[in-house]
């Protein structure tokens, strides 16, 4: 009896200790109120990089550091526009394409930074799984969150951009203004698949939720743009 009670009281922790905050735009999409520490979130589809940066933005504003491992060409300006506090942004070289080396560096980064954004090197899926098991242990021990681009291997939550449509650009006029995307959340920690429409980025530069009432389903053709991103 006494032991059971101890268990209950010790499981009460502060919200901050359990998860990192995210933008309101993602509130409906994620199964939890934020990014649970120790978990892996996969971002896939055309807008995967923007999506991952937007997910990290609120936490960096709240003081967490974001380490980008092996995704060298991240647009720093875009990160800033999506809301990432770029004074807490660090890039770590992944040391070539060897999965072991990559896993070492991601694990080392998870020691010091609460958010780690990475893209797994290409290779046979079994090797990737082994590497990710190793990384998972470390991020769970340190309470970090791993955001993976272009991969859902081993992820607790997978956010997939199933459709993306830019606005503002015509045939020979205008400029890119905002992008309407459909994001689907799935994965083993997501009890029920959820799909939401977002501006990513919206006119403010940040991710914005498109209220379901204003959504015109026909405007977004599912299936378009579900390819892996180039580069």
């Amino acid at each position: 009896m006494d032991l059971a009670r101890v268990d209950v009281t010790s499981s009460i922790t502060l919200a901050h200790d359990r998860y990192l905050p995210v933008d309101e735009a993602f509130a409906d999409l994620l199964p939890d109120p934020g990014l649970i520490r120790g978990r892996i979130v996969g971002c896939r589809g055309t807008a995967a990089t923007s999506l991952a940066l937007a997910l990290a933005s609120r936490a960096t504003m709240a003081g967490s550091w974001l380490a980008v491992v092996g995704v060298a060409p991240i647009g720093i300006e875009a990160a800033g526009e999506l809301g990432v506090a770029i004074d807490r942004l660090v890039a770590v070289d992944a040391g070539g394409c060897r999965p072991d080396e990559w896993a070492d560096r991601v694990a080392a980064a998870a020691d010091g930074f609460e958010l780690v954004l990475t893209m797994p090197p290409t290779g046979p899926p079994t090797r990737a799984e082994r590497s990710i098991r190793k990384i998972r242990q470390r991020i769970q021990a340190r309470g970090a969150v791993l955001l993976m681009i272009s991969s859902g291997i081993g992820a607790d939550v997978v956010l997939e951009v199933t459709a993306g449509e830019w606005e503002g650009l015509g045939r020979g006029y205008g400029h890119l203004r905002r992008r309407r995307v459909v994001v689907r959340a799935s994965g083993r920690r997501v009890p029920r698949q959820v799909e939401r429409e977002l501006w990513l980025p919206g006119v403010t530069g940040r991710a914005e939720l498109i209220e379901p009432s204003t959504t015109t389903v026909a405007a977004v053709t599912a299936g378009g743009g579900a390819l892996e991103r180039a580069g």
């Binding site: 055309t46 807008a47 550091w65 647009g75 720093i76 300006e77 875009a78 942004l89 830019w166 378009g224």
Partner: protein, 526 residues
């Protein structure tokens, strides 16, 4: 002793040439000719160039400043061993002993000027301005040195010295404006501005207030400058000497030849030292850095910083010292075998020390440690932080710079966008993936023919497809060009780039560019 605008002097610029040294897009030093043209310290590059179009802009290179100043420091060391270097171009000497020996303050100043002149002549910097000030305490003498006539003519005539009689510091400071506090780094610009707004225009006004009232209104930072304004000495050092266990040192089993390795160890030692002091609520204002080679050659120097030495500041000073030492011909015959940091003057941390990376939360602390550790594990270039460079192309505006070379104490200076706007850049949103090396591509029209761009930015035909590695991707929409004409005044570095935004038929958007009839993919809106 103070050499104004040392960074410009150290670069070897003649005084008749208008030149400035920029750091974080602000002028930190200017040559006499630039000063004549109206260039001010703290100005932005644009403003300075507006004052004087033929201005030469030099990069900030603390290592160069330190190397050149090393010779001066060595010469002064023969005059008196009791001195400390505040920064390259500025050193403080305990005058009482030497002045008695040389027969008075004036004689000492004359002697000091002669020594420095000789060194500067041998460095080929004969025209460098030098000011010498003697007064009670570091603050009053620093100001005296700055108010001395620093021109070369005055130095030749021996009138570059300002001597304040003992006990006369308060009266000599009283008519000066409170701006001097900022000038010598004893107060923040905000505090000085506040004083001015409250009508405390001179140091005398400030000194006339009761100390208790100043403390109540402005806290310990206010009390400190109140004491200085009244001609008092710097912060009274702790009542006891710092205990020996606070010193940190590292003996290398294998003598180290690489500067970066020594600096890396210095970083560890500095972290250790600062952490030890911080755990007791103290901060070090004066540190003695000692380095020894395997053949017992030795470099020892005291460094002072009024606001307290953070770990990054200590490392910077170790770097200055080593740069200067290495640059001395014949000074080193082997690798470094020992590095020691001794806190010489320690005071209570009253909270006005500059925060590390803008704040000192646990996350910041962990991140800073991780940067150091990852750099140690994977090499100097393994960890990068963003820094503003400015430009019109996405890959130019912000760049990744290796963390060990970045000023991690000052993220605002590193990241603040300089003068804008940069006309010709593509409008926001910015691309989320910016290729460091642009990807080769081809753009074709409906018939598969190449597309030309006229000098006025008109395309010969609407772009219809983007060809990447042989695969053709039809374009749904496109716009442009945004034309960039860079450095048209320099034939060799002149670039004309036409940027386009395109969306392919699978919904992916790219920023592409044409330069000299070739097409590149610069970035992806991924």
């Amino acid at each position: 002793m103070w050499c104004p605008d040392w960074p410009v002097v150290a670069a070897g610029v003649a005084p008749t040439v208008p030149a400035i040294v920029l750091h974080a897009n602000r002028v930190i030093a200017r040559s006499p000719a630039a000063a004549m043209a109206g260039v001010q310290s703290g100005q932005r590059r644009r403003e300075a160039q507006g004052c004087c179009p033929e201005l030469i802009v030099l990069d900030h290179d603390p290592a160069r400043d330190a190397r050149q100043f090393e010779a001066v420091v060595r010469a002064v060391a023969e005059l008196s061993p009791r001195f400390d270097v505040v920064e390259p171009g500025w050193l403080c000497l305990a005058a009482r002993g030497p002045s008695r020996y040389f027969g008075g303050d004036e004689a000492l100043a004359e002697r000091l000027t002669a020594i420095v002149t000789e060194v500067l002549d041998s460095l080929g910097l004969a025209s460098a301005p030098v000011g010498v000030g003697i007064a009670d305490g570091r603050f009053a003498s620093s100001i005296a040195a700055r108010r001395a006539d620093v021109t070369i003519a005055a130095r030749r005539a021996g009138s570059n010295t300002a001597v304040v009689a003992p006990g006369g510091s308060a009266s000599s400071l009283a008519p000066l404006t409170v701006g001097w506090l900022r000038e010598v780094g004893e107060a923040t610009p905000e505090l000085v501005e506040l004083f001015t707004r409250l009508g405390l225009r001179t140091l005398g006004d400030l000194a006339a207030l009761p100390a208790g009232d100043v403390y109540a209104r402005f806290g310990s930072a206010g009390l400190h400058v109140h004491r200085l304004a009244g001609g008092g000495d710097d912060r009274p050092p702790g009542t006891t000497d710092p205990p020996a266990e606070w010193r940190t040192e590292r003996v290398f089993d294998e003598p180290v030849e690489h500067m970066e390795t020594v600096v890396f160890v210095a970083k560890q030692l500095a972290d250790e030292l600062v952490a030890t002091l911080a755990s007791e609520g103290r901060v070090c204002t004066r540190v003695i850095v000692t380095a020894e080679t395997e053949h017992s050659e030795r470099s020892e120097r005291a460094w002072y910083r009024a606001v307290g030495l953070s770990s990054a500041a200590i490392v910077e000073r170790v770097r200055w010292q080593l740069e200067g030492w290495v640059a001395q011909p014949g000074a080193l015959s082997g690798g470094i075998a020992l590095l020691r940091l001794v806190p010489d003057q320690v005071r209570g941390d009253d909270g006005d020390q500059l925060g590390l990376w803008g704040g000192r939360s646990q996350a910041d602390h962990d991140a800073l440690r991780a940067v150091t550790r990852l750099t140690g594990l994977f090499g100097d270039h393994a960890v990068c932080v963003p820094a503003w460079r400015g430009g019109r192309l996405p890959a130019e505006r912000y760049q990744w710079v290796p963390a060990p070379t970045a000023d991690l104490d000052d993220p605002a200076g590193r990241l603040a966008p300089g003068d804008g706007p940069w006309p010709g850049g593509s409008p926001p949103p910015s691309p989320a993936v910016v290729f460091v090396e642009p990807l080769d591509a081809e753009v074709v029209d409906e018939q598969g023919g190449p597309i030309g761009i006229s000098g006025r930015g008109e395309v010969s035909a609407p772009p219809a497809a983007l060809v990447v590695r042989g695969a053709q991707r039809p374009l749904r929409t496109w716009a442009g060009p945004w034309l960039i004409d860079q450095r048209w005044w320099e034939p060799r570095r002149h670039r004309r780039v036409a940027q386009f935004q395109v969306v392919t038929d699978d919904g992916e958007a790219y920023l592409i560019a044409a330069e000299r009839q070739r097409w590149w993919i610069l970035a992806a809106y991924a």
